[in-house]
C-alpha cells in the first residue's frame, strides 16, 4: 500500500483547491472529499458545477466515472461476504483503485481469516483516506491564499488529460478516446451538456465495436 500513497498527494491537493478557485469555501471542498471520496469524479463534479451543468448531468457523469467500482466491488465481495453489514458498508465507502489493487493481489495468495482480511483492508484504506482528507484540506487552504489569476481550476482538464492518456493501452482504447473527444467537441454548444454525454457514450461504443471487429 505505501508505495501507492505518494501518487495521490497531487490529486488530493487539486481536489482541495479547485472548488476554492471556483469560489466555494474550504469546508465545501473538504465535504466533497468526505462525502464522495472518489478523486476523478470529484473533479468532474466540480468542473461541471462551474459550467452550470444540471444536477442530472453531474450525477450521470459521476456514475460513469465510478462505474469501475462495480467491478472492483464484485471482485472483493467474496472475501468480505461474511463480515457484518456495517463493515461491508464501510468497506464500500472506502473502496479505491489502490485498495482494490493490493487486495486483489494479496487476498488470493494468503490464507487469511476474515478478521485478518478486514484488518488488511481497513489499515490500507485508513491510510489512504487520512492522506486524501489531509491533502484536500491543505489544498483548500492553499487555494484560499493563491490569487485567482493563477487559474488553478485549469488543473482539472490537465489532470483528466494525464489520466486519459494513461488509459490508452490498446488501439481500441485510443479509438474510444478519440471518438469521445471528437463527439464532445462537435456537441460543445448543445444544451444540457449533451456533447459530453454523447461523447462518452459514443466513445465507449466505438471502443467496443472496434474491438469486436478486430478480434
Amino acid at each position: 500500500m505505501l508505495p501507492l500513497l505518494p501518487g495521490i498527494i497531487p490529486f488530493g491537493l487539486i481536489a482541495g483547491f479547485t472548488p476554492v478557485s471556483f469560489g466555494y469555501t474550504w469546508l465545501d471542498s473538504w465535504m466533497g472529499s468526505l462525502l464522495m471520496f472518489a478523486g476523478a469524479s470529484q473533479l468532474a463534479a466540480y468542473q461541471l458545477m462551474n459550467e452550470d451543468a444540471s444536477i442530472w448531468v453531474i450525477l450521470l457523469t459521476v456514475a460513469a466515472i465510478n462505474l469501475r467500482y462495480v467491478l472492483y466491488s464484485a471482485s472483493i465481495a467474496p472475501h468480505l461476504a461474511d463480515a457484518n453489514r456495517t463493515t461491508r458498508l464501510l468497506a464500500g465507502y472506502g473502496l479505491t483503485d489502490q485498495i482494490y489493487a493490493v487486495c486483489h493481489r494479496d487476498y488470493p495468495i494468503h490464507n487469511w481469516n476474515l478478521n485478518a482480511r478486514i484488518a488488511y483492508y481497513a489499515g490500507g484504506t485508513l491510510l489512504l483516506w487520512g492522506l486524501w482528507q489531509a491533502c484536500t484540506v491543505v489544498g483548500a487552504f492553499v487555494g484560499q491564499v493563491i490569487p485567482v489569476f493563477w487559474s488553478l481550476e485549469f488543473m482539472i482538464p490537465l489532470t483528466f488529460l494525464a489520466l486519459a492518456l494513461n488509459t490508452l493501452k490498446t488501439r481500441a482504447h485510443r479509438v474510444a478516446a478519440i471518438t469521445g473527444a471528437i463527439v464532445s467537441f462537435a456537441g460543445l454548444n448543445l444544451p444540457y451538456n449533451l456533447g459530453l454525454i454523447l461523447g462518452g457514450l459514443s466513445g465507449i461504443l466505438a471502443g467496443v465495436l472496434f474491438r469486436r471487429v478486430n478480434q
Binding site: G7, P10, P19, Y24, L27, D28, M31, G32, L35, M36, S41, A44, Q47, N50, E51, L59, T61, V62, I65, L67, Y69, V70, S73, A74, I76, A77, R88, A91, G92, L95, P147, V148, F149, S151, E153, F154, M155, I156, L158, T159, L161, A164, L165, N166, T167, A172, H173, A176, A177, A181, S184, F185, L188, G195, L196, S202, G203, G207, V208, R211
Partner: protein, 111 residues
C-alpha cells in the same frame, strides 16, 4: 458552507457509495453481464476525453477573469503542450507543470 454545493456532493456521494457497495452489499442477487465488463474498460478513456473538451474549450479560467480576454485562447495550446509532456515523461507532475506553465506563457505573450 454553500448549500447547493453540499447537496450536489452529497447526492454524488450516494451514487458513488451505491456503485462501490453494489456487490459488497448485493452479491447474492446479481452477476455482471459480459457486455458490461467488456464495455467498462472503455469508460475511462471515453468519458475523460469527453470531459477534457469543455474544460479546454469552454471552461472559465482565472487569468481571463483577472486580466481580460486575449486573441488566442491559451487553454488548447497549454493542453497540447501538457499532452506532449505526458508522452515524453509518462508522469503526472511534469504534465501538469508543463500545462500550467504554457498557459501562463501563451497568455503573457499576448498582453
Amino acid at each position: 458552507m454553500t448549500q447547493e454545493f453540499i447537496i450536489i456532493v452529497a447526492l454524488a456521494g450516494l451514487v458513488t457509495l451505491a456503485l462501490k457497495s453494489a456487490f459488497i452489499e448485493g452479491q447474492h442477487y446479481f452477476t455482471l453481464p459480459k457486455w458490461f465488463v467488456d464495455a467498462l474498460e472503455f469508460v475511462p478513456p471515453a468519458i475523460l476525453c469527453a470531459l477534457i473538451i469543455p474544460g479546454i474549450f469552454k471552461g472559465k479560467v482565472g487569468l481571463i477573469a483577472a486580466f481580460g480576454a486575449v486573441t488566442i485562447d491559451p487553454k488548447p495550446i497549454a493542453a497540447a503542450v501538457a499532452a506532449l509532456a505526458f508522452f515524453m515523461t509518462k508522469k503526472t507532475i511534469p504534465t501538469l507543470t508543463a500545462g500550467m506553465a504554457s498557459l501562463y506563457l501563451v497568455y503573457w505573450l499576448q498582453i
